[in-house]
């Protein structure tokens, strides 16, 4: 008898817990209109950053391509010729491609980079109608102006 009573009581309690939740604010985000503010250090699409003077940080060392566990990065280095200087080092990346379909967003490339050229931003809306469009080229990856990617262009690494 006491057991049955406590069972019925707990059922009633459950009902009122549910009712209490009806007056809380829903946690749903209406996605295309409202977007989630991601944590600063969350990893999204890549950027190739620049120094304050507008030169590319990437020196074409290929460490990112080597460390990449899913082999998503392709770097084609070239020598900086006098009169055609792209970076502060001897070499620069004449071509730089990242296959966003292969990338697992582990952030190893960012850690391996000796000049802090490649970074992972917070942008996560990476969808496309074709596979080809998701192989990002150097033009797509490089930030237009220093600091466009959200990182301070005067930082050391």
């Amino acid at each position: 008898m006491r057991k049955t009573l406590s069972k019925i009581l707990s059922m009633m309690q459950g009902l009122f817990i549910v009712l209490k939740h009806a007056f809380r604010r829903p946690i749903t985000l209406r996605y295309p209109e409202e977007k989630r503010e991601l944590p600063v250090r969350s990893r999204g699409r890549h950027y190739l950053t620049k120094w304050e003077d507008g030169l590319e940080r990437c020196v074409g060392c290929e460490l990112c391509a080597i460390v990449c566990p899913s082999q998503a990065i392709y770097v084609k280095p070239a020598e900086n010729e006098p009169g055609d200087v792209h970076s502060h080092g001897e070499r620069y990346a004449s071509d730089f491609q990242i296959n966003m379909l292969r990338c697992i967003y582990c952030g190893y490339c960012e850690e391996a980079c000796p000049t802090g050229a490649i970074i992972l931003s917070n942008e996560y809306e990476l969808s496309s109608y074709t596979r080809e469009a998701l192989i990002f080229t150097k033009e797509q990856l490089t930030e237009k102006n220093p600091g466009d990617s959200g990182r301070d262009p005067s930082r050391e690494i």
Partner: protein, 325 residues
């Protein structure tokens, strides 16, 4: 004679339209309320507050491909949703939603048919409702459906008994089987105050009669895919659900008629009082659905036969003693 028939036909038509709209908007309110209780938003896209969602759903279901599985029993397969809907709608022929009003000199009673054994008629028709479930389960040549149909039969038949007995106490107190008579007998005090145990038993059995959570064993999505309506799609599937929602409104209106004084209330606002009294019941159905887990089959039968039936019988005997002696 002709005008009488016309009036009844018009009343029935209005009733059907009202009920269909009410069922459509019950799906909307169920989705919104359940979403809020689970910290979600529910439908908000179609129209303001998602109010046009039932229309969109209806159009979608009507334009779906018409299919039927192989090896079915054709006639019963097509008939079963109709039986469900018909039995659900039929209850409203007998329920008084108001007294007599005068429109253009004609006295019009807001009850389609005042049968002198109305409550008996309602019980008979709510028993027939099981045919929709069991025939759908049996004819669609699918084991899940058959299991759902069988469960539905067992559940509805075993909960019919305590429901009938709990209603008997009200009949004893009112001294009549006519629903308008029962409403009239509650002009001074509602039967919920004198028969609270009957009311609680009726409420529990009402959940089982309408196959709603926590007694939704015939359609248990987790174990039986969809139970008796697994093989149905498009509007045939929707008919089962319209029938379910109309059934919820029906059992709520029976509860209001028998225990809460029907359409009577302060000032003379017949239909409005009736609607206002139904609403808490509809909310209760949704509220319970979003809270309770489904009972096991054995538990269900235990509650029906070992708990509700004895309590209902004892309650009936005590009521009979106090009423008649």
């Amino acid at each position: 004679m002709l005008s009488l028939v016309t009036i009844i036909l018009i009343k029935s038509l209005i009733m059907i339209l009202l009920l269909m709209t009410a069922a459509a908007y019950m799906t909307w309110s169920e989705r919104v309320l359940m979403a809020r209780m689970q910290l979600r938003l529910g439908p908000t896209r179609v129209g303001t507050f998602g109010l046009l969602q039932p229309m969109a759903d209806g159009i979608k279901l009507l334009t779906k491909e018409r299919f039927q599985p192989a090896g079915i029993e054709k006639l019963t397969y097509w008939l079963a949703p109709g039986i469900s809907l018909f039995t659900a709608l039929f209850v409203f022929v007998l329920i008084p939603i108001g007294g007599t009003i005068h429109i253009a000199g004609y006295p019009i009673s807001l009850q389609i048919a005042d049968v002198n054994a109305g409550i008996l008629f309602i019980l008979a028709f709510s028993s027939l409702a099981v045919y929709g479930v069991v025939l759908a389960g049996w004819s669609s040549n699918n084991r899940y459906s058959l299991l759902g149909g069988l469960r539905g039969t067992a559940q509805m038949i075993s909960y019919e008994v305590p429901m009938g007995i709990s209603i008997l106490t009200v009949i004893l107190a009112a001294g009549t089987l006519s629903l308008s008579g029962i409403v009239e007998a509650q002009r001074h005090h509602w039967f919920i105050w004198t028969h609270p145990i009957s009311f609680i038993i009726y409420l529990i059995t009402a959940f089982a009669e309408t196959n709603r959570a926590p007694f939704d064993l015939p359609e248990a999505e987790q174990e039986l895919i969809g139970g008796y309506h697994t093989e149905y799609g498009g509007m045939k599937f929707a008919l089962f659900f319209v029938a379910e929602y109309i059934n919820i409104i029906a059992v709520s209106s029976i509860a209001v008629t028998l225990f809460l004084g029907g359409w009577l209330g302060p000032w003379d606002l017949p239909v409005i009082w009736f609607a206002l009294k139904i609403l808490p019941f509809l909310f209760l159905f949704i509220w319970v659905r979003s809270t309770m887990a489904r009972f096991r089959y054995g538990e269900l039968m235990n509650i029906g036969w070992k708990v509700l039936t004895p309590i209902a019988i004892i309650n009936l005997i005590i009521t009979a003693y106090f009423t008649l002696v």
